[in-house]
């Protein structure tokens, strides 16, 4: 049997040097990738037929023709509100419709009129609005250039890599076979000249025949391709750009690398066993969004395609010319639908992308606290004992998690009758402690006629079908399993209804959900996922593979909302994701390993996700596979405490690692890290409110806030939380010190633990001990904390705030305070929240309402105000709206210039001013 039919003898050699997991991913999809990557830059065969140009209020349409095969494409250009351009290319007359991704855009993006500035036989020039921005459509060869003034911001098809495998009838196969001996049938499609990629032997370019176009074989799997080849490709050139980011999920550096001579970054949701680091291999999720950044401008490219996708990146860095990065996107099927987000600032790009796909779901406050997970907590007694352990060791936690073993034979929505006979008693026990639980609900459904969920899905015809129309079945945790077709809205509605309290027996309002294995994972499928020719209604899995996980989480989140009558915010964790998944909850970086390098990679992995909308990201604290050393575990807690999703998790086969199992000293270290997280929850919550409100990432690379500081562009061992906290966790084994880069010329940063002041724009060496978590507050910011750390975040709800005012060198500071009920949609539906501007200027600190239309009453008050970088006042006066003035006592630490105002006592929701004299 030929192992791989579209490749040659040489390629497997290359593959055999790699590990098996990689081997799998490279091989299965190589046909499309190879055909497309075989294309080399050159003159595009595509020509714009200017006579077909039509300009309406909302769009411009224009036909393109491939001069080699005369197949026509239809180009649609849109100018979108918020400085974006949408470019859509489809076949003018496809044999049948090609897949266009639904449910990812939150609406049909509002357009703005394009105006024609000039037109001649070479092309047309369109105005993109006020900023002297133009869009130039060149006719022969076809290309697009977006200009600002005389500067090219971005060009499409400038390298001639636009390619569109049009749908054709299989009859062509016979024809092509007839032609095979005399000519390369591929030349029918891409008859322009191309030079073979360097890993092909010269003889091979001839071998690049029709094999793999209508059927691919990998190991024992055959992928039938009834629609034949259907891939698409387009290139983008970014003059002046040396740094591109995004396109998660990859276990790689924040700054994307060039892929010349290597594999492209691959986007194809897969359940990868023990993934490798610094590798463009596909992982669990895919977000086809890339950001480009230079000191002048930030832009984004959103390639809206849910099929398997590859991204090639090349760059001329190092040469004497103007730097330029060239990017090429290839997808196996679908259409070209690309959104060019023109920035110009990082914040603008975030807003632009948010306007397309929505923002981060605003999680319940408790979901930002600490999560204790393990595969598996064995039974109710185990859960109770772990819960008790946290109290005995005075370590806060909010959620305890149950993995697959809690179910009755991996039948989701059920409980093991021996280990969890009384789930409600267990949940009530947690509720009595104001804590919560997450249970796992995976999308593979055990094929078992005595299982209600299976029977209903089968009888309703909701399962994904195989190519022959029968229910698709694959092997997963429960054994033989069906896969519900989550792309079907009726299926999703039914699934959501299964979370109703009377359907999901034993569930209660403090129980939330975890969707794992939703790539989907199919143990006996090609690359451990679904066969590409499996059918979701009329569409193949090939067309929408990367969307499946998004739909699972969407349906689950909807279920949690519905069960509460639309009142409560859901919390759903997912492993697979796509563009738009941010709207439904949290993601984690999957099955990592208890190794230092995996701790380090958690930073760029979550930063990359944050840049493309997914703020609620975390890695398994401690590492999933293998057992961490105590030092690694402690360092991971310290790092995780400052990452958005903070959950410890461990593989079934690893020794227990609850925080108190490593001796009192390490227990104390972990306790301290978790307590720091809890104290900072008001700030985290506020950051998530902003992420939800405006799409700004919670965890940010430094360049987002210091876009002109080139020193920050490749940094991924430290990060910002919001604008105001800089975190440089210790991720080196035996680390004695870290060198943190404090950005901002003329700015200052305060060590949050010692209040020591440091100047910006310097590399600061910080000696560390095992208890150190280097964190700095930006001078000029105000951060609210709750100093009374209790056993769960809910217990801290009404506690008072301490404000940390870090003065800029100009003795100025600004911050915010956001408060709501912490768990319902009332903040949104009824404007029940408090959002206040805190500002320090002219020796006065004041709190003013930022949301006059809102209304919320909190018992919380201002307990303490700590002003860093202050001078000693003679007196401090608190003024409240009722006209009262109270003198505040204060302490002043001259050595650190820290002024502490004692007990202002004023309610956190009202206007007040403290004047220092």
């Amino acid at each position: 049997m030929k192992l791989w039919v579209c490749t040659t003898e040489e390629f497997p050699h290359k593959l055999s040097e790699t590990v098996s997991g990689k081997l799998i991913f490279v091989m299965f999809t190589i046909c499309t990738s190879m055909r497309q990557r075989a294309l080399k830059p050159g003159q595009s065969p595509y020509r714009a037929l200017l006579e077909t140009l039509e300009l309406t209020n909302t769009k411009l349409t224009l036909q393109l023709i491939n001069d080699n095969n005369k197949v026509r494409l239809l180009l649609e250009l849109y100018r979108l509100q918020g400085n974006m351009t949408r470019v859509k290319i489809n076949e003018l007359k496809p044999l049948k419709p090609r897949f266009e991704v639904p449910d990812v855009l939150i609406n049909n993006p509002p357009t703005e009129p394009l105006s024609l500035l000039s037109q001649d036989e070479n092309g047309v020039v369109l105005s993109l609005g006020a900023d002297s921005q133009w869009l130039i459509v060149s006719a022969k060869p076809f290309r697009l250039d977006i200009m600002e003034g005389r500067e090219v911001l971005l060009s499409l098809n400038s390298r001639g890599l636009l390619a569109f495998e049009h749908l054709r009838i299989p009859l062509l196969t016979a024809l092509a076979n007839g032609l095979k001996r005399t000519s390369n049938p591929f030349s029918l499609l891409f008859p322009f000249s191309f030079s073979p990629p360097q890993y092909f032997s010269p003889a091979l370019s001839i071998g690049l025949h029709e094999d793999g176009m209508w059927e691919e074989t990998f190991k024992s799997h055959t992928d039938n391709k009834p629609n034949g080849p259907s891939s698409i490709s387009l290139d983008f050139s970014l003059p002046g750009v040396e740094h591109v980011y995004g396109i998660p999920e990859h276990a790689d550096s924040l700054k994307l690398k060039t892929t010349d001579g290597g594999d492209p970054y691959r986007l194809f949701n897969l359940d990868v066993f023990q993934y490798e680091l610094f590798n463009p291999m596909a992982l669990y999720g895919a977000i086809p969004v890339m950001l480009s950044h230079s000191a002048q401008r930030t832009m984004g490219i959103f390639w809206l395609n849910a099929a398997e996708t590859w991204v090639d990146i090349s760059s001329n860095t190092g040469s004497s010319e103007t730097p330029q990065t060239d990017v090429r996107w290839i997808s196996e099927s679908g259409i070209i639908d690309v959104f060019i987000m023109l920035g110009p600032t990082p914040t603008d790009v975030f807003s632009q992308y948010a306007s397309l796909t929505g923002t981060q779901a605003f999680p319940p406050l408790s979901a930002l606290a600490y999560h204790q997970c393990r595969w598996n907590y064995n039974d109710q007694e185990d859960v109770a004992a772990v819960d008790q352990g946290f109290d005995e060791h005075d370590i806060p936690y909010d959620f305890i998690w149950l993995d697959i073993e809690h179910t009755d034979g991996k039948r989701y929505f059920t409980w093991d009758p021996h280990k969890f006979p009384q789930p409600k008693d267990m949940l009530q026990g947690l509720m009595d402690k104001r804590r919560k639980m997450v249970t796992i609900v995976d999308p593979h459904i055990k094929v078992d006629s005595s299982y209600k969920i299976h029977n209903e899905i089968r009888s309703k015809g909701f399962y994904v079908k195989n190519k022959d129309g029968g229910d698709y079945e694959g092997w997963c945790w429960p054994g033989n399993s069906g896969y519900p077709d989550f792309t079907n809205p009726e299926m999703r509605a039914w699934w959501a209804s299964m979370f109703a309290y009377d359907q999901y027996e034993g569930s209660m309002e403090n129980m939330y959900t975890w969707n794992d294995m939703n790539e989907p994972s199919v143990f006996n499928g090609p690359e451990v996922t679904m066969h590409k020719d499996a059918l979701h209604g009329n569409w193949e899995n090939r067309d929408l593979h990367n969307l499946y996980g998004l739909y699972v989480q969407m349906a689950t989140a909807e279920g949690l909302i519905e069960r509460s009558g639309g009142v409560e915010r859901p919390f759903v964790l997912t492993r697979a994701f796509f563009a738009g998944s941010q709207r439904y909850g949290a993601v984690w970086t999957g099955d990592n390993t208890a190794e230092w390098e995996h701790l380090k990679i958690s930073i760029p992995m979550c930063l990359s996700l944050g840049l493309v909308g997914v703020s609620f990201c975390g890695a398994d604290v401690g590492g999933f596979f293998k057992s961490p050393s105590t030092e690694l575990l402690v360092r991971w807690y310290q790092t995780g405490a400052y990452q958005p999703f903070f959950r410890a998790h461990a593989h079934l086969d690893t020794p227990r690692r609850e925080p108190w199992l490593f001796g009192p000293e390490n227990t104390a270290l972990i306790r301290e890290a978790v307590r720091q997280r809890y104290a900072l929850l008001p700030y985290w919550y506020q950051l998530f409110y902003h992420a939800h409100h405006s799409g700004q990432p919670v965890m940010r690379p430094l360049w987002v806030e210091y876009p002109q500081d080139t020193a920050t562009f490749s940094m991924d061992d430290q990060f910002l939380l919001g604008r105001d906290l800089l975190v440089h966790p210790v991720t080196e084994e035996g680390g004695r010190g870290v060198t943190a880069y404090l950005p901002g010329k003329g700015e200052v940063w305060f060590d949050v633990h010692t209040f020591q002041k440091h100047n910006g724009a310097q590399n600061l060496y910080i000696p560390v001990t095992i208890s150190s978590i280097p964190v700095f507050q930006r001078g000029g910011s105000i951060i609210p904390r709750k100093a009374r750390v209790r056993r769960s975040s809910s217990c801290m709800e009404h506690d008072p705030y301490t404000l940390f005012v870090a003065l800029s060198p100009k003795r100025f500071a600004q911050g915010e305070l956001y408060i709501d009920d912490g768990h319902t949609f009332n903040f949104d539906k009824q404007k029940q929240f408090i959002h206040r501007r805190l500002s320090f200027a002219n020796k006065a600190l004041s709190s003013r309402n930022l949301a006059p239309g809102s209304q919320f009453i909190t018992p919380s008050w201002i307990e303490k105000i700590v002003i860093l970088g202050a001078s000693k006042p003679s007196k401090a006066t608190l003024k409240t709206p009722d006209g009262k003035e109270n003198l505040l006592e204060f302490e002043f630490d001259a050595s650190m210039s820290v002024l502490t105002l004692r007990k202002p006592g004023v309610n956190a929701g009202v206007d007040w001013t403290v004047v220092l004299q």
Binding site: N378, D394, D432, R434, P655, A787, R788, V789, W861, K903
Partner: protein, 501 residues
């Protein structure tokens, strides 16, 4: 809201409520023992001496002292603690963070005075329950401790017996050696030079015969030794054997005679056995509980009941068969003119084989091994040696054989899994004998070798009460035994020793 509570004294409420208890006035959350530091209307000095504040800042919901001592009754200090009197139950300290957190921590409800939580005073009920359970525990401890004394006594005797047996075995070996020496002299003397020629003829045959005999003797003598029990009878039978050999120097009949002697001299059951395991079986047969052949080889999947039955069957069979066997084994001897000589030769060889018998050596070693075990400070755990205890769960039968191994067998078929072999005592310092550790069990896929921690608690019965697998392939077993029962304190002391009020 913020600073509402100043010096709310619980005494009033209590006094009004019960009309009985006399509460001494002190700020909320202060234990009686520290009352003197909180004197009303006098400046308060933090208990660490770090600063002094006006008394109205005690419990004013703002943390002034670094040690948290100014806020014993509020949650203001991160490192503070709150004292619940818990009248009717035990007083307790809770972290300040649990004050007014909406969760009832103190059974007297005093920690939730401003959270809206509705707590019930459960102290009396809890006190009653605790007293009941303490009472039960105390009774168990008392009886358990008595049992323990008995165990210690028995263990002491057992140890002495074994030591004695060992000494005697060693002594008898010495005695045998002396006898061999004596015999050799006799033999040499008796050996008439005239018969040297004949002897040469006979030598080949003699050697062959002796070889056969030695083998038979070895087996039988091993059997004899295996019958050794707690008491020293086993040894005596050996002695009798010797004397019999001397008294009745019929080499053909001597062995069956010997066997009879051995059987007479041994304890129940009166049967020869084949393996050292049976020695230990006899040892444990004094006790009531189920017993199990000690598995020296660490072999798996032995079925106790079957083994025993088989053994008995074999024994019976063997006894019936023996005479025939003997006849079969009987050597047809060529004519001899010097019976005496051959007798001497036979006895000599036989005694020599006794001295060098590997089974005998192994018995000595096993005795030494058992004597060498750490059975606790007073050997109170000695009775567990060679015993096995089982616990049946929904899926598995767990078996603990103390000082030997732990295993798990699926209830509905499947092979037994070794969960660990005896490792060592692993209790915390000062309580070493509260935990047993068994390790180097069967390996786990992608994981460690299985191991089991056995936690011992005081109980009248010796029984496995629970098993769990808190971590993959790391098992936890709870085991009650009188051997860990401590001398009970008087009940009054237990119940009232630490109660304030």
């Amino acid at each position: 809201m913020s600073c509402a509570l100043l010096l709310l004294l619980m005494s009033l409420a209590l006094a009004m409520g019960t009309g009985a208890a006399v509460e001494i006035q002190r700020p909320r959350g202060v234990p009686l023992s520290k009352r003197q530091f909180y004197e009303e209307n006098k400046p308060f000095t933090c208990l660490d001496g770090s600063s002094t504040i006006p008394f109205d800042r005690v419990n004013d919901d703002y943390c002034d002292c670094r040690d948290g001592s100014d806020e014993p009754g509020t949650a203001a200090c991160p490192n503070g603690s709150f004292h619940c009197t818990n009248a009717g139950f035990r007083p307790a300290f809770i972290p300040s963070s649990r004050i007014n957190d909406g969760i009832c921590d103190c059974c007297d409800t005093t920690d939730e005075y401003n959270s809206g939580a509705t707590c019930q005073n459960t102290c009396r009920e809890m006190g009653r329950k605790e007293r009941e359970s303490l009472q039960i525990m105390a009774e168990i401890t008392k009886e358990g401790f008595l049992l323990k004394q008995q165990l210690i006594h028995e263990a002491k005797r057992g140890q002495e017996d074994k030591q004695g047996k060992l000494t005697e075995l060693q002594g008898s070996k010495k005695g045998l050696e002396e006898k061999v020496e004596a015999l050799r002299t006799v033999k040499e003397t008796a050996e008439d030079p005239e018969k040297e020629a004949k002897e040469r003829h006979l030598k080949a045959w003699e050697e062959q015969k002796e070889l056969l005999r030695m083998e038979k003797d070895k087996t039988r003598m091993a059997e004899a030794f295996l019958e050794l029990d707690d008491d020293a009878d086993g040894y005596v039978s050996v002695a009798e054997l010797q004397s019999h050999l001397e008294l009745d120097p019929d080499s053909d009949g001597s062995l069956s005679e010997t066997e009879t002697q051995v059987s007479q001299g041994q304890s129940e059951p009166p049967a020869p056995v084949e393996t050292p395991q049976e020695e230990s079986r006899d040892f444990v047969s004094d006790h009531d509980s189920d017993h199990y052949p000690e598995d020296y080889a660490g072999e798996e999947e032995e079925d106790v009941e079957d083994d025993e039955e088989d053994d008995h069957d074999e024994e019976e069979e063997e006894e019936k068969v023996t005479p025939e066997k003997r006849e079969d084994d009987e050597v047809s001897m060529p004519p001899y003119d010097t019976e005496t000589q051959s007798l001497i030769d036979g006895t000599y060889s036989h005694l020599q084989s006794l001295i060098c018998d590997p089974e005998c050596i192994s018995i000595c070693r096993n005795l030494e091994k058992e004597i060498g075990f750490d059975f606790g400070p007073s050997a109170e755990f000695a009775y567990l040696y060679s015993q096995c205890y089982e616990l049946s769960t929904s899926e598995y039968i767990y078996r603990l054989c103390p000082f030997n191994r732990v295993s798990q067998k699926p209830k509905f078929g499947g092979s037994e899994t070794n969960l660990g072999l005896w490792g060592q005592w692993a209790g915390p310092e000062g309580n070493l004998y509260s935990v047993m550790k068994y390790d180097h069990g069967q390996g786990c896929w992608q994981g460690p070798n299985r191991s089991t921690t056995v936690k011992l608690t005081c109980g009248k019965e010796t029984v496995v009460t629970s098993t769990s697998e808190p971590s993959r392939c790391e098992y936890l077993m709870e085991f009650t035994t009188p051997a860990v029962c401590q001398e009970p304190a008087s009940l009054d002391e237990v119940l009232h020793g630490h109660t304030e009020l």
